[in-house]
Symmetry: C2
Subunit: 396 residues, 2 copies
């Protein structure tokens, strides 16, 4: 009746249990590992050998010894293997290779439309992956996982997009299955805003347990980290706040078929449309940002009002999940402080004092890199989990 997190306590046969100890980068001796795990010395010796054969750990000089044979220390070998991190956007894609600490080793960009379908986009990704591995001089065997972010809802357990509105042809498409026909490693797929939340946390807030990342661009969505874990919800769509109704929205039609949705008022295209209707020469979100930067008062007021609308929905979020950080990213965050000022105005006015006492509402620090960094974290976390480590074989 009570939750158990058995985690690595049940770690089957493997060397993974030891490895979980060494992932923090701190070197340890065999004796320290034995003391920390309660495993027999002979078991420790065998498991260290396995991890050394996988090159996941390496000796790092000798520990101070009280005489006799010096005791070797071992630590994570971050350069032993690599992961790939893909950020597949609406009209642009990025693929990066990172080491096991998330450091980017190389990156490829491409203008490609997600609406051209999974085979075209993933086909590009696979050839870009091969090119990247070749350029880095790393054999394919060094690759141990791929993390992929896409602009739509994803059933995380299977890696299949589910009813993604701007991804025609991708509904229930088996992304991992298709990619694995070409690159035989685990493929983790998630919604782009979820991976941006992971990336933002890794980059700027590694010790924060409760963080929301809000992306304001063509659409509006949030990634929610609570208790240190990404929250995906029952259908993998937690954080899909773009279609919550806001007070100012009465009657305004949204592309989802409903009226008054946040996205119909506060997204980049919605702000552009409102300014155009007010007689300004504005074709796109980019034009809005340009006007704001040039100090146009109507544009500044429109962006600030969009911030207030977003703040209205975030007030409910603050009450419901009580985060300590809300990071605002996405292309519209480039409009600077005006958007965030609107968010702050409403959240701080309407929330209970205890909920906002220690709440930071800030611009994303990871910015353009949030998605790639988050996809890398997703891949590393999976590959270096106990089950992931048990599944690895030594390099050729």
């Amino acid at each position: 009746m009570v939750d158990l997190n058995r985690g690595s306590a049940l770690g089957s046969s493997g060397a993974s249990e030891l490895f979980q100890l060494l992932r923090d980068g701190q070197p340890r001796t065999r004796a320290e590992l034995a003391a920390l795990t309660g495993l027999a010395r002979s078991t420790i010796a065998a498991r260290v050998e396995t991890l050394m054969a996988l090159e996941l750990i390496s000796p790092v000089g000798d520990a101070a010894s009280t005489g006799g044979r010096p005791s070797s220390q071992f630590a994570l070998n971050a350069s032993a293997r690599i992961v790939l991190a893909a950020d597949l956007g609406a009209t642009h894609a990025t693929l990066a290779a990172t080491d096991l600490a998330g450091v980017v080793l190389g990156e490829v960009h491409e203008d490609i439309d997600i609406a051209s379908g999974p085979e075209a986009v993933l086909g590009w990704m696979v050839s870009a992956a091969r090119q990247l591995l070749d350029e880095l001089g790393r054999p394919h065997h060094d690759l141990i996982a791929i993390g992929v972010g896409v602009p739509g809802p994803v059933q995380h357990s299977t890696g299949r997009p589910v009813n993604p509105p701007i991804m025609p042809g991708w509904d229930r498409f088996d992304v991992p299955g298709w990619v694995q026909q070409h690159l035989e490693v685990p493929v983790l797929v998630d919604n782009d805003v979820n991976i941006m939340a992971l990336g933002e946390r890794a980059f700027a807030w590694p010790n924060t347990e409760h963080l929301m990342f809000v992306k304001v661009a063509t659409g509006i969505g949030a990634g929610v980290i609570s208790g240190g874990l990404l929250q995906r919800g029952a259908q993998g769509i937690a954080g899909d706040i773009g279609h919550v109704q806001v007070a100012r929205g009465a009657g305004i039609p949204c592309h989802c078929g409903n009226r008054g949705c946040l996205e119909a008022l506060a997204s980049g295209p919605a702000i552009a449309k409102a300014l155009r209707e007010a007689g300004l020469d504005v074709a796109s979100s980019r034009d809005v940002i340009e006007l704001v930067k040039r100090g146009n008062i109507e544009a500044i007021q429109a962006v600030r009002q969009a911030g207030r609308d977003i703040g209205e929905v975030l007030t409910a979020a603050v009450s419901l999940i009580n985060p300590s950080v809300i990071a605002i990213g996405g292309s519209m965050a480039r409009a600077g402080e005006h958007l965030i000022a609107g968010v702050r105005e409403i959240v701080y006015t309407r929330s209970m004092p205890l909920a906002t006492e220690h709440l930071s509402i800030v611009q994303s620090s990871a910015a353009e890199n949030a998605a790639v960094l988050g996809a890398s974290m997703l891949a590393i976390h999976h590959a270096l989990s106990p089950a992931g480590v048990d599944a690895l074989s030594p390099r050729a």
Copy 2:
């Protein structure tokens, strides 16, 4: 940079790692335990001995053997120890004793005002605890933890209420410290709605990972379970939705100092006030429920409208955390289907189809027992955690 859940893999010296395996109630032999943990046979033998001495596990007959000496099996001994579960409400308190599977062994009720302060209320709890242990014929040493629910925000890590509006004298009061002067066991304190969420899940939805419990009574609050874990948020006030503003609320003053809060429109007293202003003879929430049960059309409409207001806030919650169950409890849930019909009307109209496709919005099944059951779960989960087991000593 990546989350580790080291859990019991680092389980210090103790026997706790083995015990986590046996908590599911399934009997296992020493050989099975050795295979599952990778620990040496000699280590297993010592740890089984420790757990037997604590009486947390017992032999349960002999496993089929291939000849030679039969292998004993061991399983959780749910009756070995007990926990206490307290539900301290605004004007009424309950204290129950349960076994390690959450089965209630005895219960005491008392009309006591939470506003009479911590020493009066906790003093009653301590003497009720002694009385209960005596009546059950269990020595004090059998008690291994106490779970306590209170009607206000709590800093869960310290067990101190924080700015609780209806609990004068309790602000930052060291509840565990005070109780432990009389009963020397771990004391876990949490908000009443949080423990109701735990209780509802244990009672009716043990396999549901994403559940919201919404209490509608004198106040309105929610307990959020995501990914199988209770979410308390950064300040322990996650789920405090009573003061989110709703559209219909414009201008209506709330006791919190703001205007238009959900609680000022849809709580029991708010509905009673609205009906009184419409000329009905209604003094309390109880009168509202009576009228509804007698089929009074104004009362039914008022309750249904309260459901719609609650639904407005829950629509944001559904987008944000994507639960698969929303259970509605608290005294106003006794008004039957009218309240829930209002909630459903708005949530199903305004949410994205994917979010509501598999969403159940239902009346609480645990009802009055949700809080006591949840407090018991809180206590058991702590006492039987690896650290909790390591801290136990054999019975006198």
